[in-house]
């Protein structure tokens, strides 16, 4: 079930081969849905689901897809899964689905999906492909949650909607940093995470 190689497939995307920090895929949604923690978690879970299953499906039919039309086939599989997730969210978590609005739809063009389908699922058996999908989805969600944690904490003083910074701080003149809610700060937060990660893993650093 979990041979050594499968373990690497599952856990490497969490740090050394992180889809956001190292492969630079799926940036758009990382930045857009991280104002609050809750939508970030929902988005992460949706991406994990879509990725795991689209990887399995493409891997199952990988020998029958003609290479010339594979992009359209991949897009159709992903789009069908995204529609399922979208309808599920509208049915069970309407408020969050409103907050995420177009970004659930944009999972289709999330480059992590296309990237992993092209790079992994087209050449591997269904079970490793499933693990690869889950692993990369988790790596993506991890970054989403870290960024959303700092943005919600510093920007609104709350976590998951509960007030974390006590009222007396505000009484003594503490102010929420409105900058953190604005989109550009998401980019700078991700840059800081990249900085920390590359300072610890010297082999990831780029030569000037």
């Amino acid at each position: 079930m979990l041979s050594k190689r499968n373990k690497e497939v599952l856990f490497n995307p969490l740090s050394k081969d992180n889809p956001v920090l190292v492969q630079i895929l799926g940036i758009c949604s990382t930045l857009a849905v991280t104002v609050k923690l809750e939508p970030a978690i929902v988005m992460g879970l949706s991406v994990i689901t879509v990725m795991a299953f689209s990887n399995v499906i493409i891997s199952l039919i990988r020998k029958t897809i003609p290479t010339t039309i594979r992009i359209i086939v991949q897009l159709v599989v992903v789009a069908a899964l995204v529609i399922v997730v979208q309808q599920f969210l509208v049915a069970y978590d309407y408020d969050v689905s409103l907050q995420l609005n177009v970004f659930i739809g944009l999972i289709i063009t999330n480059c992590i999906l296309m990237g992993r389908l092209e790079a992994f699922a087209l050449n591997n058996k269904p079970w490793p492909s499933f693990l690869d999908g889950v692993g990369n989805g988790l790596g993506y969600m991890l970054i989403l949650v870290i960024v959303a944690f700092f943005r919600e904490l510093l920007g609104s003083g709350t976590l998951l909607g509960y007030q974390v910074i006590p009222q007396w701080c505000y009484d003594h003149g503490y102010m929420d940093n409105g900058m953190m809610i604005l989109p550009p700060m998401a980019l700078i937060t991700v840059a800081c995470i990249i900085w920390v990660q590359r300072a610890r893993n010297k082999d990831l650093q780029e030569q000037a």
């Binding site: 359209i72 529609i83 063009t109 980019l187 840059a191 990249i194």
Partner: protein
């Protein structure tokens, strides 16, 4: 006048990159020099101008609730809007394929210079995002939607050419090793975004 308003607004205030972060992946990957950035920017603008009106008509006459009444009144309560995503992406993917073939046939030199970026436009979120925002904003004619598409495309083009120009200059600077490459590009984009925010709150006519 209203069109001009939408045009300016979609270039500066609702800029695809700095306000919505759409098309970020190719934005970061293809911005190493100004020439390719310009080529990709033009290709994206072109795709937006072509696909947004098609998707607008599709949305208005096929997908929306009751949109099929022009076929027969019995279809008045058919709502196909849940198929929106798959229709839009199909239009975009086939559009990309067509543009690719046309460019290859009529202008091989442009085709060679764009290379891999042409097919990649199909998964550029700026284009699908444009279609989804178009649906959300519910414009009142296909012409207005086209203007919106052109504005969004030009905004994207301006952003990527600007970033490419900065990155060409920054190649000579001494950046801390862990920030080289991707890290510093993120920070530059963030700072450019803050600069673009000065357009926010501008009310036109």
């Amino acid at each position: 006048m209203e069109e001009l308003n939408i045009f300016i607004k979609s270039i500066f205030i609702d800029n695809m990159i700095f306000a919505y972060f759409l098309g970020m992946c190719s934005f970061l990957a293809v911005s190493k020099n100004v020439k390719t950035a310009l080529g990709l920017g033009i290709a994206v603008t072109f795709m937006l101008v072509v696909t947004i009106p098609i998707n607008y008509l599709l949305d208005k006459y096929v997908l929306q609730a009751g949109a099929l009444t022009w076929l027969s009144p019995t279809l008045a309560d058919v709502d196909l809007s849940f198929l929106g995503l798959i229709m839009f992406i199909a239009v975009i993917a086939s559009g990309t394929q067509l543009v690719e073939m046309a460019v290859e046939k009529f202008s091989p030199s442009l085709y060679a210079s764009l290379g891999i970026f042409l097919p990649l436009i199909a998964v550029n979120c700026a284009i699908l995002g444009g279609a989804l925002f178009m649906q959300q904003k519910s414009f009142d004619s296909a012409w207005t939607a086209t203007v919106y598409g052109a504005g969004s495309g030009i905004g994207w083009l301006l952003a990527i050419v600007g970033l490419a120009a900065i990155r060409e200059k920054i190649a000579y600077s001494n950046i801390p090793a862990p920030l080289r490459g991707v890290g510093i590009t993120f920070i530059i984009t963030g700072l450019m975004g803050i600069a673009f925010m000065s357009f926010m709150g501008i009310k036109l006519g």
